[in-house]
Amino acid sequence: MPDQNLTGTRSTAPVAEVAQAEAGPPPGKPRSLWSDAWSDLRRKPSFLIAAAMILVLIVIAAFPGLFTSASPRDADLSGAFLRSPELTKFFSPEWFGYDSQGRSVYARVIYGTRASIVIGVSVTVIVLFVGSLVGMIAGYFGGWVDAVVSRIVDTFMGIPFLLGAMVILVSFDVRGKLVITLALAVLGWTTIARVMRGSVISVKQADYVQAARSLGAGTWRILLRHVLPNAMAPVIVVAMVALGGYISAEATLSYLGIGLADPAMSWGSDINTGKDQIRVALHVLIFPSIMLSGTILAFLMMGDAVRDALDPKLR
C-alpha cells in the first residue's frame, strides 16, 4: 500500500483547480486516501486524546516497573489492609490505597494493564487475520464457498458472545492468557468475516477490478493489490471498536471467576475482590473500574474517529 506519504502535508492545490486546467498546475506531493484521512485525524481532538491514552496504556503494559516501585503481589508489611487512598501522593504505592490483603491498589492497577492490552490486541490480531481471510475468500469467490462460509458465520453469530466464552472456558482447568485469547478469537472472527465479505463484494464489482482482470492479472494480484486495500477500511474500524469489546469481555470473564485468577493479575478479578468490601473500601473496586472503562473508551473513541476520517461520504 502506498503510504510513504502518511506524514506528508496536504497538497495546497484543490481538486477543482486541477479540473479546470487540463495542462494542470505544477505537481504537488502525492496524496492517498489514507493520507487524507490522516490529515483529518491529526486535527481531531477525540482522536488525539484516544491516541495519547492508548499510547500510555501500551507503555504501561510493556514496562509496568517504570510506573511503580511497589510489587502488586506482596502485602505491605506495615499492616496496610484496606487503608484509604492518599490522592495527593502521586505515583506512590499509597496513591490508590490498599486492598484487603495489604497490596497496593495502584501497583495492581498498573500491573493489571498488561493482561487487558495483550488479550485485547492478540484477539484482535487473530480475528483480523482469520476473519479477513475467510471473509475475503467468501466474498470474492462467491458461489458455494460463500454459501458454506455464510452458514458457518451465521451459526457462530447465533451464539451469545459471553455465554459462549464461558462455556468454552469452563472446560479448561487452567485458564491463562492464551486460552482466554483463543476462546474470544474463536467466537469473535465471524464479525470481521461478515464485514469483510460485504466490503469485498462491493469492491469486486468495481471497474478497476474488472480492468485488472482484463489486463490478465492473477487472482492473488487482484486480491492483494486491488480488493484488499479498498475493502480494508470498514474492517479496521470494526476491529478497533471490537478491541474495546474484547477487553471488556476479558474483564467480565475474570470478574466472574472463569478468566484470569490469582496469581495472574487482571482488572476484572480485582473488581471482583473489591466488590466484597464495597461499603468499607470503595477504592478497591473503583480504581480498576476506572482504568477498565477508560481503556475501553479510548479504543471506542479511536474507532469512531477513524470511521469518520475514512468515510468517503463525508469527503
Binding site: M1, E22, R31, D207, A211, L215, G216
Partner: protein, 346 residues
C-alpha cells in the same frame, strides 16, 4: 480509415449470453434467464471504428465483457485473427489479452483509488513482463502520460486528484500500455461533461491514427458515435437490429428502431429540423428475461403486424433493396424494412 477488403481482425459469430436467474441459497435452482445478448454477429476490420448503439440495458456492456473474456459466452464464437478466443483460458488467454484492451465507462470507478497513476499505468507491465520496456519502466509510463496529453510529472499522484476527463485519459493510457490492436470502449465519454467529451474523442481519434488501432465504440445514442465511427450497429434487447456504414445508418436507415433513435437526435441546422418528423416510442423496453416472441421490437413498433409476432426477422439485406447499389442495401432485421426519409432529412 477502415479497410474492409482485408481480413477482419475480430469476428463475432452467433454470440449468446444468458444470465441464469436462480432461487434458493444453498441449493440453487434455475428459474429462468436474462437473455442479455442473444445471437449477435458482427465483424471488426483493422483500423476501423465500429460503433454499437442502443438503449440502456440492451446488452452493450455485456458484449464488451464477452469480448474481453470478463464473462463467459453461453454460446457462439469470437475470432481474433481467425482464432476462437471465447473458450481460451490460462496462459493462452493472457497472451490474447495483450492485444485487446478496454476503456471503461466510469472514470471514477475504473481507477484503483489506492494506487498512484504511475502504478496504474505501469501495472500492465508487471502483469506482462515480456511486454515491459527493456529499460526504465517509469520512463515508459511518463511517455504514455505525455501521449494522452497529461503532464508526465503527475506520475506520483492519486486518481482523486484529477478531473473526470483527466481520469479517462489515464484509463486510455493504461489501455495503450501493452500496444494492443483493438480497444473496446464502453461508453468512454458518457460520464464526462459535454465540453470534455469532444476532447477525449479527439484524443482517441488521434491515437487511432498514430497506432493503427481498431475501436469497438459503445454509446447509448447515435450522435456521439457519428463523429468517430466508420460503421455502426444498432442493438435492441440483446439483438443487433441494423448494421451498416455511416452513410447507411445515418442517411438510409431501414429499421424502425433506428429511425426512431435517429429522429430523436438533435439537429444543429434549424432548416433541417423544420421538415423532420419526430418519432416518439411509447411503452417500456420489455424485460430481457421475458422478451416478446418474433421481433423483439414489436411491442413498440408502429409498423408491427401479425407476422412480426410469429416470425423472427433475420439480420440481412432487405429483399426490396437487394439490387440497390447505394448505402441503403445493408443489413436490417425487419420484415418491413423501408427507408423513411422524414427522419433523416427534410
Amino acid at each position: 480509415m477502415a479497410d474492409t477488403t482485408r481480413e477482419p481482425i475480430l469476428e463475432v459469430r452467433n454470440l449468446v449470453k444468458h444470465f441464469p436467474l436462480t432461487q434458493g441459497i444453498v441449493f440453487r435452482r434455475q428459474v429462468g434467464a436474462v437473455r442479455a445478448v442473444d445471437d449477435i454477429s458482427f465483424t471488426l476490420y483493422p483500423g476501423e471504428t465500429l460503433g454499437i448503439v442502443g438503449e440502456s440495458g440492451c446488452g452493450k456492456s455485456t458484449v464488451a465483457k464477452l469480448l474481453m473474456n470478463l464473462e463467459r459466452a453461453t454460446a457462439g464464437e469470437i475470432f481474433y485473427k481467425g482464432e476462437d478466443i471465447s473458450k481460451l483460458s490460462g496462459r493462452a488467454l493472457k497472451a490474447v489479452r495483450r492485444n485487446i484492451q478496454m476503456v471503461f465507462q466510469d472514470p471514477y470507478t475504473s481507477l484503483n483509488p489506492r494506487m498512484t497513476v504511475g502504478d496504474i499505468i505501469g501495472e500492465p507491465f508487471d502483469i506482462h513482463p515480456e511486454a515491459a520496456p527493456k529499460g526504465d519502466k517509469q520512463a515508459r509510463v511518463r511517455e504514455l502520460l505525455d501521449v494522452v496529453g497529461l503532464n508526465p510529472e503527475y506520475i506520483n499522484r492519486y486518481p482523486h486528484q484529477f478531473s473526470g476527463g483527466q481520469r479517462q485519459r489515464i484509463g486510455i493510457a493504461r489501455g495503450l500500455a501493452l500496444n494492443p490492436e483493438i480497444i473496446i470502449c464502453d461508453e468512454p465519454v458518457s460520464a464526462l461533461d459535454v465540453s470534455v467529451q469532444a476532447q477525449v474523442i479527439n484524443l482517441m481519434e488521434k491515437l487511432q491514427d498514430e497506432f493503427g488501432l481498431s475501436y469497438l465504440f459503445i454509446a447509448h445514442d447515435l450522435s456521439i458515435v457519428r463523429h468517430i465511427s466508420d460503421r455502426v450497429g444498432v442493438m435492441y434487447l440483446g439483438k443487433m437490429v441494423e448494421i451498416g456504414s455511416d452513410a447507411a445508418i445515418y442517411d438510409h436507415p431501414t429499421h424502425p428502431y433506428t429511425q426512431a433513435l435517429l429522429s430523436a437526435v438533435p439537429l444543429p441546422d434549424p432548416d433541417a429540423r423544420e421538415g423532420r418528423e419526430r418519432i416518439i416510442l411509447t411503452g417500456d423496453v420489455p424485460s430481457p428475461a421475458n422478451p416478446p416472441s418474433g421481433c423483439r421490437f414489436r411491442t413498440r413498433c408502429w409498423k408491427a403486424q401479425d407476422r412480426c409476432a410469429e416470425e423472427l426477422p433475420l439480420l440481412a439485406v432487405p429483399q426490396r433493396y437487394a439490387d440497390a447499389d447505394t448505402a441503403v442495401a445493408h443489413d436490417s432485421a425487419c420484415h418491413f424494412a423501408e427507408e423513411k426519409p422524414q427522419v433523416t432529412h427534410a
